[in-house]
């Protein structure tokens, strides 16, 4: 007979209607799936009792039945002998363009003319990172269904806090391909906080230090009466345990005099390096033996001391984002309640030591750092699928970078500032720049800098059909909305006519590597330049607007209202303004605009008188008083 689980009071489901939910930690190196059963969140092991599923997919040659894949441990082993068809760390390529990938990859990437998505050439054909991830998700889905005894109603998948829209969308695409219903994407550190926060219930400031295989994230969370608020996030999307392995690989290569390793040897070096790193979490020294081929062997000993010397610069790199996250959150180190360690790399004793020293507190390691994210995701999934009676947890996430749009002069107007909690909707009113303007281009940007050229372009669309009006009269409301998954939609609406246009930001998969990190640091180092640049552009835009308006007025009324000499004075003054606007001195431009204002004051006065006369001409006093009744 069927096997039953204990439900929350009043939440028993009808037969065959069990709401099965799972949390998936789709990691760079390893992935896990967890589920809540009878109120207990546990990771789900495979038939051999292994919780981790290495995020490795081997593609086998195509035959008449299509292609086959091997996922997990077996694929990891085969990677040594079949490195180009066996894809590891595919998560690093999710939502990325070809330019960002090539330099640090052993794979043969190709890109079709009509597709933005780079693909890896394998024996099974060309596959994208999304397809590779879908294979991993399919394996986890199968494991969860076997364990729970039915099809999954929905899943929560975790992503690094630093994943941008393109990367989140790629993750959703992979889930769709695997036939999974994604209830929500949540940030990995937030999931870790869920796993810990509920179990221990300590109120206060919590730091989540997540050093995984391929990504580093630091998050500062505040827990108040069971509610998590993310105060700030920072990190490095290309830093992790892989780099520790690489440090060891580099050491072996220099010690053994290896200069140009084959793909097979590279895999072997990586596997040996990783094994050595793991051993050194428990031992003082480890023996290394490398098979160089042709009966050529190299062996040596790596001590903990040497190892720590190799990895220290890498671990130190994690401290910089820690400092920034603290500053963004406005928190001092002594206000921190505890530090939660997440990710297999936090097993390295030196990581625990340095993090403990920086935050002046002993890091928490109660829950297996490999499983903690999946467990938190499982709890969220259980909640979202409706197995809990009431909203026990309200999860707030933040947007990692500011979002805004382009205004005249190539400036960025930020609509949603970075570290705003999501989901969120913000609206801002804009107007037209020219008389009779009937369309407006909306250019959506992401980044901290003031100029469009320094931010990342996410999308462009146009609002058409604005009724012709004088410049500045139209009221265009632009609304930015970020849903719970961190995906952005932007809409624009002209308020008087009601014309509307909108876009779902599903950005092109063409992002430069570590761009977010660079964008952030740049915004700090260029803060002063940016303000100057913004001032200059603003004055230039204003000068341009003034010159155009006066030019239009001259064309219309110049001959009627002004003598030739007067016209000459104004023309000359505009000419000077246009010249000065080309310089890079905002103060001089501003001064000149004021001068032009003075020179044209009389002209403006006469125009106004003339138009009043025109309006009154041919009417008797009675008409006018009549009309005003």
């Amino acid at each position: 007979m069927a096997l039953l689980q204990i439900s929350e009071p009043g939440q028993s489901t009808a037969p065959h209607q069990h709401k099965l939910a799972a949390g998936i930690d789709l990691g760079t190196t390893n992935s896990l799936v967890a589920s809540v059963r009878s109120g207990m969140a546990e990771t789900i092991a495979d038939k051999q009792g292994r919780d981790l599923l290495p995020s490795v997919v081997q593609f086998l040659a195509k035959d008449e039945n299509g292609y086959q894949t091997i996922v997990g441990y077996e694929a990891q082993q085969n990677a040594v002998n079949d490195p180009t068809n066996t894809i590891v760390s595919a998560k690093r390529y999710m939502g990325r363009g070809l330019d960002d990938i090539k330099e640090h990859s052993v794979y043969d990437f190709v890109q079709d003319e009509d597709s933005m998505v780079p693909r890896i050439r394998t024996a099974a054909g060309d596959v994208s990172a999304v397809e590779v991830s879908a294979e991993i998700l399919t394996a986890l889905k199968q494991r969860a269904s076997d364990y729970l005894g039915g099809d999954l109603t929905g899943v929560v998948i975790t992503v690094p806090a630093y994943f941008d829209d393109a990367q989140r969308q790629a993750t959703k695409d992979a889930a769709k391909l695997a036939g999974l219903n994604v209830l929500r994407l949540i940030n990995e550190p937030t999931a870790a906080a869920v796993a810990y926060g509920l179990d221990s219930g300590n109120e206060g400031i919590h730091v989540i230090y997540d050093l995984g295989g391929g990504t580093f994230d630091i998050s500062i969370l505040k827990l108040t009466r069971g509610v998590f608020e993310v105060l700030s996030t920072a990190g490095d999307s290309s830093l992790g345990g892989d780099d520790l392995d690489q440090a060891v690989v580099n050491w072996i290569m220099s010690e053994a005099g290896i200069t140009d390793p084959s793909a097979t040897l590279q895999r072997q070096l990586h596997d040996k390096a990783r094994a050595a790193k793991e051993s050194l979490s428990e031992q003082e020294r480890v023996q290394l033996a490398i098979d160089l081929g042709d009966a050529n062997n190299w062996s040596s000993e790596l001590t903990l001391e040497q190892f720590e010397k190799l990895i220290q610069p890498i671990i130190r790199k994690t401290i910089v984002p820690c400092r920034r996250a603290l500053r963004d959150a406005g928190i001092d180190a002594d206000e921190i309640e505890d530090v939660v360690m997440v990710g297999g790399s936090t097993r390295v004793p030196m990581v625990r030591r340095m993090v403990g020293e920086f935050f002046e507190t002993e890091p928490l390691v109660d829950i297996d750092p490999d499983k903690v994210v999946a467990i938190g995701a499982a709890r969220q999934a259980d909640l979202l699928v409706g197995n809990k009676s009431d909203d026990e947890m309200l999860l707030l996430d933040v947007t990692p970078l500011s979002l805004g749009l382009e205004t005249m002069g190539g400036l960025v107007e930020k609509v949603i500032h970075r570290n705003t909690t999501i989901p969120v909707a913000r609206a801002q009113d804009f107007t037209t720049f020219k008389d009779g303007q009937t369309a407006m281009a909306i250019h959506v940007l992401q980044g901290e800098r003031e100029l469009v050229s320094d931010c990342r372009s996410l999308a462009r669309f146009e609002l058409r059909g604005i009724p012709p009006m004088v410049a500045g009269a139209a009221r265009i409301r632009v609304t930015f909305q970020i849903d719970a998954d961190g995906l952005l939609s932007v809409s624009a609406r002209e308020e008087t006519s009601g014309v509307e246009s909108s876009i779902q930001v599903k950005p092109s998969y063409g992002l430069s590597d570590t761009e977010i990190e660079t964008m952030l640091t740049d915004s700090f180092s260029h803060a002063k330049d940016d303000i100057e640049a913004r001032k200059l552009r603003e004055e230039q835009v204003e000068a341009d607007r003034v010159a155009q308006a006066i030019q239009a007025a001259l064309n219309e009324d110049g001959d009627k209202l002004l003598s030739a000499e007067e016209q000459q004075v104004i023309r000359q003054s505009i000419g000077e303004l246009i010249e000065i606007a080309k310089t890079d001195n905002p103060r001089a431009i501003k001064q000149k605009i004021e001068d032009v204002d003075k020179v044209t004051a009389e002209f403006a006065q006469r125009r106004m008188d003339a138009s009043i006369n025109k309006a009154l001409a041919g009417h008797s006093v009675d008409d006018i008083t009549e009309g005003s009744k």
Binding site: A2, L4, Q5, A14, P15, H16, G39, Y147
Partner: protein, 107 residues
Amino acid sequence: MAITLTDAAAKHVVQFIENRGKGEALRLGVKTNGCSGMAYVLEFADKVEDEDIVFEDKGVKVIVDPKSLVYIDGTELDYGREGLNEGFKFNNPNVKDSCGCGESFNV
């Protein structure tokens, strides 16, 4: 008659209740739906209603409402594993027939 638990079931119930951190009893019952007449209810219990009947076996408090008890009196709650899946089973002497999946039954 009474409701009893196997050792495996008792061990898991104690573990699950401890993990949940609140509530101290297990509620067993039946609901009148399902493909074959009635379906089992298996829930954590936060409070005992006046009319509830309370059993205790192997350190586990089990509560049943009187209407349900008619259909499940004498049941032994077991815990078992089928492949990767594991969970609770009702060994109910009152059952005449059940649907293929065993989630609902008739008396």
